[in-house]
């Protein structure tokens, strides 16, 4: 068996070749196939310039030789193989390195601005070009998580969650470059490890070490909520401590048995939380009840949800990234396991514009770019960090971000292929 019949197709109209089966050597690898396609395109269009392609056989990236791939996947070599080809994603280029004073605990990127939380008790705002714009200081302890809420013109609302058990709601005017703490969200009795704003920007949810999830209003107002203070707390001290108006939670979701490590909104009425008690829980915010529990076997450090493919990706304290379908009712169903990291997976994030790509960071100092169609190995390993990676993120403007214990926030430029966006 040295030759097999293959039909090539693509969804990118620029690179369409004739829909006829070709006989190709079975041992051909990606590079050979790419050359074949390029030759075909040159024959069709003299002005074609060489493009590197990647090939998918039944939705799986070809990484070995064609025959080996088909053998492992159990595809018959008798029939004509349908091979889809896409423009190869080029390796992400490290672009900027933003130095912080201390470890970077979290990062959240907007289209223009990058918000990072750091162990030096501050949050920072950076432009995507890597320019430090603003330092948001106010917490009395380590900032564990940050989130953009929404942006109306020049004012943006942002959240910082800290080990000092509060979430601060800030309003930032990008023109005047002034930041103001509008609300101090008090209620957690443990460090607030994660915070996430709902898609409309009207509410946010926070998860804490005290095993609770709390839903808060994200709309800055000028009224302070009434807080039942314990009688023995001296009033004077309370005043001085507070930064901004005190806000109390709209709702408390309890159910986790261990610290909540990650929380996100899967849609406007649904919150998804991952915890150290080995579960991922989905909550209905409207009623405040738990809808589904996905049970794993290890501590979950992070989750990410992609509305494009409607999958949850979780990183846990074993070295696996697991993909879940949150809508399954029959308990835990791991769709896919991505294993390449050698340490805890501390951060995982789906690509905002690509349904198959996700990025993960781990304690083994590596950031990995994954394509779910190639679950055996990541597309690229980004070994820029010299210490533990704690957070990763994407911007919609073709940037990947990662920060960690080496005080550096790296940005990587990657080419979001038009074809993939179209797909």
């Amino acid at each position: 068996m040295s030759q097999l019949q293959a039909r090539f197709f693509t969804e990118n109209q620029r690179y369409v070749v004739d829909d006829v089966p070709f006989s190709i050597p079975a041992v051909s690898a990606v590079q050979d196939l790419s050359n074949v396609i390029n030759k075909l395109l040159e024959a069709k269009n003299a002005s074609h310039s060489k493009v590197e392609f990647d090939f998918l056989v039944r939705g799986q990236f070809l990484r070995t030789s064609l025959s080996a791939h088909m053998e492992t996947e159990g595809i018959s070599t008798e029939e004509v193989v349908e091979i889809e080809y896409v423009e190869r994603i080029t390796a992400p280029e490290p672009e900027e390195c933003m130095m912080h004073d201390d470890w970077i605990s979290s990062v959240h990127a907007d289209t223009e601005w990058i918000l990072t939380g750091s162990y030096d008790k501050t949050a920072r705002i950076w432009s995507v070009e890597g320019k430090a714009v603003m330092t948001v200081a106010g917490h009395t302890d380590v900032v564990k998580d940050v989130a953009w809420v929404k942006r109306d013109g020049l004012t943006a609302v942002l959240l910082t969650a800290s080990l000092d058990q509060t979430v601060l709601l800030w309003e930032w005017n990008s023109e005047r470059n002034k930041v103001k703490a509008r609300h101090c969200c008090r209620g957690h009795t443990g460090s607030v490890d994660t915070v996430s704003a709902d898609p409309t920007g009207s509410k946010f949810c926070s998860g804490s070490w005290d095993k609770m999830l709390k839903i808060w209003s994200a709309v800055p107002t000028d009224e302070a909520d009434e807080v039942e203070e314990s009688a023995d707390r001296p009033r004077k001290k309370q005043k001085t401590q507070h930064l901004g108006l005190t806000r109390t939670p709209l709702m408390t979701l309890s159910g986790h048995n261990e610290a909540v490590s990650s929380v996100l909104w899967s849609d406007s009425e649904e919150v998804c939380s991952a915890s150290w008690d080995h579960t991922i829980r989905l909550w209905d915010v409207e009623t405040g009840t738990m809808k589904t529990t996905l049970t794993g076997s290890k501590v979950f450090n992070c989750i990410s949800y992609s509305p494009l493919c409607r999958r949850l990706a979780s990183g846990s304290s074993d070295r696996h990234i697991r993909l879940w379908d949150p809508r399954t009712k029959d308990g835990s169903l791991v769709l896919l396991s991505l294993t390449s990291h050698t340490g805890w997976v501390t951060a995982v994030k789906w690509a905002p514009s690509h349904e198959h790509q996700l990025v993960s960071g781990s304690l083994d100092n590596l950031v990995k770019l994954w394509d779910t169609r190639s679950c055996k190995a990541p597309l690229y390993d980004l070994a820029a960090h010299e210490d533990k990676v704690f957070c990763v993120d994407w911007t919609e403007s073709e940037l990947m971000l990662s920060g960690g214990a080496d005080n550096k926030l790296y940005t990587y430029r990657y080419s979001a292929c038009q074809t993939d966006v179209g797909a």
Partner: protein, 744 residues
Amino acid sequence: MEESSSNVLSSEKPGKMKRTKKRSKGKEEEQEEQVFNFNKPADEGDDDDLSDSEDSVYSGLEDSGSDSEEGEEEEEEEESHGDDGEDEDDAEGEQSQQLQTEVKKKGSEGEEEKKADEYEHDSSDEEDIRNTVGNIPMEWYKDFPHIGYDLDGKKIYKPIRNKDELDDFLDKMENPDYWRTVHDKQTESDIVLSDEQVELVKRLQRGQFGDVNFNEYQPSVEFFSNEVMLHPVTNRPADKRSFIPSLTEKEKVSKLVHAIKMGWIKPRRVEDDSRGRYYDLWATEDSSILAQHKMHLPAPKIPLPGHQESYNPPPEYLFTDEERTLWEQQDPSDRKLPFVPKKFSSLRQVPAFPRFIHERFERCLDLYLCPRQRKMRVNVNPEDLIPKLPKPKDLQPFPTTQSLVYRGHSSLVRSISVSPSGQWLASGSDDGSVRFWEVCSSRCMKTVQVGGAVKSIAWNPNPSVCLIAVALDTVVLILSPSLADKQVVLASERLLAGQQEEEPSEGAGPVWSEAEGEELNQGIRLKIQHPKAIHQVAWHAKGDYLASVMPDHSSHLQVFIHQLSRRRSQNPFRKNKGLVQCVSFHPVRPYFFVATQRSVRIYNLVKQEMTKKLQANSKWISSMAVHPGGDHVICGSYDCRLSWFDLDLSTKPYKMLRHHKKAVRGVAYHRSYPLFASASDDGSVIVCHGTVYNDLLQNPLIVPVKVLRGHVITHDLGVLDVTFHPTQPWIFSSGADATIRLFT
């Protein structure tokens, strides 16, 4: 006689042949001689060639050499000493000739007739010159008075033969020469053989040469030897055919070649025996004797004869009259003995056993008829009796890999403790600092300089307060790290704010004091000054009581129990029962565990008495941990052992684990998972699974599941302390390499 005569005749033949030939063809003599060369190499004609021709001359040829009979005779006489056979031959010939002449002379005589008759049988014309009838059956002349014709064509008449059987017999009896008398059929005459002739006959019969003087073993001349001589034997040129290849051979070869080409002739097939031309039927049979008798059932043995069977049994075996009558009355099958024991004064008097044949027959019947059953012997492998331990794989979860390393200390980390929530890790090091780490990120959140090597550190197990006890030198520090909720911090502050009871403490008692200034800012709240160096601190589960250990051989002041809320210390023991190594509170009941060098004492704090004393079979206990259920204790010792005590079972260790190569430094139980671990100076932490059952009948299941390595051995010290995460199956270990490692 007849046979011998015929032999003689045949042996004489060549000589006679020669003679006749000589006579008929005198010219061809030379040729003839050549021909006969083959038969008789010692020929007259070849005399010149052969050096020893005189000796080997054969009689016949010499005869033929002379024409006249007289000459022959003369010659004979000349050579007679050498050639006996020839003489005889000649003599015979002479005789027969004489006879013939006699026959001629007295033709009418009966004897002559008979002699003539005898000629009939001679068939050789060449040989017999007296009768010319030739080689015909002589019975043809049976009915004639003559037996042939002589050379002149005259009839030879049969000699008159009047000898009958009787005469023959008489002759045989009387004639001393009868044995050497030969009957000549052709001349019908009796010839008496001379001594020489008899000798010749004997020689020939023995297969020897007729010539006595002929030496058959004389040295021969090798003409055709392997040696190439200077001069060839013959001067004859080589034949042409010896130069050219043989046509016939060529033809033959080409025929064979053709046949091979056509495949008519095939090369002989080599028999391949390896594939099994012969099948070894018994190849798989076990040839040993045991295998041959696989189903062999040994016949039941007859019991050996006892005293009853003896010819001289002890008297108690002899039957009394009653017994004898009983025996006789019994049915033979009911009898105890098939015979009556008898006594004989000597073995000589023992008669033949009358029932011998009968008994043998019975025995044969027994062997034949008795049903035999194979008794299956149960072979129990001792290994199978050991209960099967589950595989470590099935005992998940347990820590398997190193996940985080907490770096920051500059000297060996003696003690670590995890906060009850599992968020913080406190570590005390020889570099004089206490560090607080965030567990999930390995971030050092706080460093408190306490100014002395920290021997022991213990987080208050009560989750509603956040306090930590640190033992260094002679002081126990109570720290409030304020790493918890403000409510909790306040609660702990309140706990510490309790007033000291103004109780006159004993002179050597600990002194409580409040920290001030910089120390207060660092979180140090209380100092409890002890009289001696403190080795260990341990909290009660409620978090109000704190025990501190000051090992001292000579004093009974080794253990103090402090009450935090009342700032009170007391010494529970009045007597020194040995060097106290470590202490621990029972997690739920009011018991107090005190580990001395060799044993663990359990005291009831309410009744103030000792309830149990556990004997650890080790030389020097280093560490101790109490199971969260309270019924099990593990002890690590400096002689590399880990002993598990089941308090309900015994005061002896239920199990001893000797997995470590070096001294065990620390042991720990997990609070919720069935795990325990031991840390050793060999740099490894061994995690074991230890399920404890509520059922009292079921013993704990202890399976070592994982050896965790990672610490570097520094100054011969490996891992110094080990502790589990309160909620996760994770383990922290601190080592002499100044690091703390988290294994998950």
